[in-house]
């Protein structure tokens, strides 16, 4: 008898994160195919009421401990390892997010089981587990097999956000909850002192109907005015992907993606952005996504509705001019 499909329910600052529902949707599919239960695992402190949000699972294991109030990967992993000492799950799905990153690796190494990161799909056939993974910044897809088992063994799977629509895994209902005690080392080697809220930027990206986003393809800070010209004719605001922010070309308040803001504008124009999963996580729900990239295989075209293969520095002025001309030609309202 193979063990349950388990999902680490990610809670942060009193809320279950969207990626948890996405992972539950994936876990539900796999559990139903294999014919095993789906179990959500919630760790925290005084947050038992959140178990109701995990209704897509057949049951919830709830671990309450003051050292689990904030997510510290080593501590959280230690709790999970103790839970799994008895009933070993077939798989444990752990979100690859800024909150949970590192937990899966610690669980894998301490339980002595394989870890597969970057997963977007799973297939279990008998004792075999295959995962579909997105590697190299989204440029390569790989089919990966865990180990060479003589029987079903637990596998820890790191899940990219966006593997399934969150709504498929969202269900609020009472589910059987099993409280599991754990004993954790109170050395406080890593301790959260405080949260630092983001400084208010000059614009609130989350409220913009149009966003023009620049990535590495913009090449140089000196080319930003080309994108600003497009913003002038389209309206909205300028934002960027991680490399542009890390270079200091745009402030942190303009970052879209995993560490930045989640945006849902009516129009998102991605210029020279390859479409790494970390960026896509922040803009995939935009109403209309347009991408310009010199690489026809860039993963951004997987989420874009319209694409242009070309040099951003050539395409940008052409697009600005085209829109400008059309606006000038249009009869005034």
């Amino acid at each position: 008898m193979t063990g349950p499909i388990c999902v680490l329910a990610e809670q942060w600052r009193g809320r279950i994160s969207e990626v948890t529902y996405e992972a539950l949707a994936l876990g539900r599919e796999v559990a139903d195919r294999v014919g095993v239960p789906l179990t959500a695992i919630l760790t925290g402190c005084n947050c038992r009421e959140l178990t109701r949000m995990l209704g897509a699972a057949d049951s919830v294991i709830y671990v309450d401990h003051e050292l689990l109030a904030e997510v510290v990967p080593q501590t959280c992993a230690e709790a999970l390892v103790q839970i799994f000492a008895g009933a070993r799950p077939r798989v444990l799905l752990v979100p690859l997010t800024n909150i949970s990153l590192g937990i899966g690796t610690f669980v894998g190494v301490r339980m002595g089981v394989p870890v597969i990161n970057f997963c977007k799909d799973i297939r279990i056939t008998g004792d075999k587990l295959e995962a579909q993974c997105v590697m190299y910044g989204g440029k390569i897809e790989a089919t990966v097999e865990a180990g060479a088992p003589s029987g079903p063994q637990p596998v820890v799977l790191g899940i990219w956000p966006g593997v399934r629509p969150a709504d498929k895994g969202r269900a609020e209902r009472d589910v059987p909850v099993m409280d599991m005690p754990v004993v954790l080392d109170d050395t406080q080697a890593v301790r959260l002192c405080r949260y630092i809220e983001p400084e208010a930027g000059d614009v609130d990206l989350t409220k913009q109907e149009v966003l023009v986003a620049v990535g590495r393809g913009i090449q140089d800070r000196g080319n930003l005015p080309l994108a600003e010209e497009l913003v002038k004719v389209l309206g909205g605001a300028l934002c960027g992907s991680r490399p542009v922010i890390d270079q200091g070309w745009l402030p942190l308040s303009r970052q879209v993606g995993k560490s930045g803001l989640m945006v849902k504008p009516k129009l998102y124009v991605a210029l020279g952005i390859s479409g790494a999963p970390e960026h896509v996580e922040g803009m995939k729900d935009a109403g209309l996504i347009v991408a310009v990239n010199s690489d026809a295989r860039a993963p951004i075209f997987n989420v874009a509705h319209y694409g242009i293969v070309g040099d951003v520095l050539e395409t940008l002025p052409a697009l600005t001019a085209a829109i400008d001309a059309r606006k000038a030609a249009a009869p005034h309202a």
Binding site: P114, A142, A298, G307, V309
Partner: protein, 261 residues
């Protein structure tokens, strides 16, 4: 203050990635290797800390094509000692990479004791784990990832590290030293170093080599790539072709038709 920086080379994804004939890996012949981006930030963060607090920065890198350039560049930027881990078979996994780092740290003279071990939070090929947590577990040190800033107080005091959370929120953590930190981004962009300075480092400097024995067979833990293929955009985007002007004119029509400007 002794800071150890762990570096790993990864394929440059700006180049076209070709699949090997067996369909299970990248074709090494056409592969250009570069320093993993977040490792570059880890090096920069170490150098910033050295400038603020003094001490020594040692860089430890795993043998790979172009790694000597990366190590000489690190020396030119200000690293005090550069060490290359050699003797392993190519094509190692992240779990094995962490094992090589840990062995070298334990066995190579002068790498321990250490106050901070910095490395990139995640590399684009970290399929079977992340280096920083694996090394932290092996060395029995505390770990924090997605770090974008470090403050060191008085000697013997815990460090304070800034970790990124979603939605622009950051968390200030206290972390007992020695510790392993997975760096997302340094406090400043990685510094530029002129080619002449790198050449000077090549002439005057020396890369030490640390031989590591083969790791024990971990077949049980291994993850095997059965098939690898280049991402084919799933046909989601409707591609607008023609010259830049023609493509933009088509796009302009679409946006106007939707009332988006």
């Amino acid at each position: 203050m002794h800071i150890l920086v762990l570096l790993k080379m990864v394929p440059d994804v700006v180049e076209d990635l070709e699949i090997a004939s067996d369909g299970k890996g990248l074709d090494l012949e056409y592969l250009r290797m570069i320093l993993s981006e977040s490792d570059d930030h880890a090096l920069e963060q170490a150098l910033l800390l050295k400038e603020r607090h003094g001490g020594k920065v040692t860089v430890l890198a795993l043998d790979a094509p172009e790694v000597d350039d990366a190590l000489f560049t690190a020396a030119a930027k200000g690293a005090d000692r550069v060490v290359k881990v050699v003797g392993m078979d190519p094509g190692f996994t992240t779990r094995q990479a962490a094992g090589f780092f840990s062995q070298a740290i334990a066995e190579q003279p002068g790498l321990m004791p250490v106050d901070l071990v910095l490395t990139g939070v995640q590399a684009i090929d970290d399929l079977d784990g992340l280096v920083a947590p694996l090394v932290a577990d092996e060395l029995r040190m505390p770990y924090l990832g997605i770090v974008t800033g470090i403050v060191l107080d008085a000697p013997g005091r815990p460090a304070r590290a800034i970790k990124e959370f979603p939605a622009g929120v950051r968390g200030e953590f206290e972390i007992r030293l020695p510790a392993v930190l997975g760096i997302q981004a340094a406090e400043k962009p990685p510094r530029y170093v002129p080619v002449a300075k790198v050449r000077a480092a090549m002439k005057s400097g020396k890369i030490e080599c640390a031989e590591v024995p083969t790791l024990a067979d971990d077949g049980w833990l291994a993850v095997n790539i059965l098939e690898m293929k280049r991402n084919q955009p799933a046909g989601h985007a409707e591609m607008l072709d023609g010259s830049p002007e023609q493509a933009c004119e088509k796009l302009c029509g679409i946006l106007a038709g939707r009332g988006l400007f």
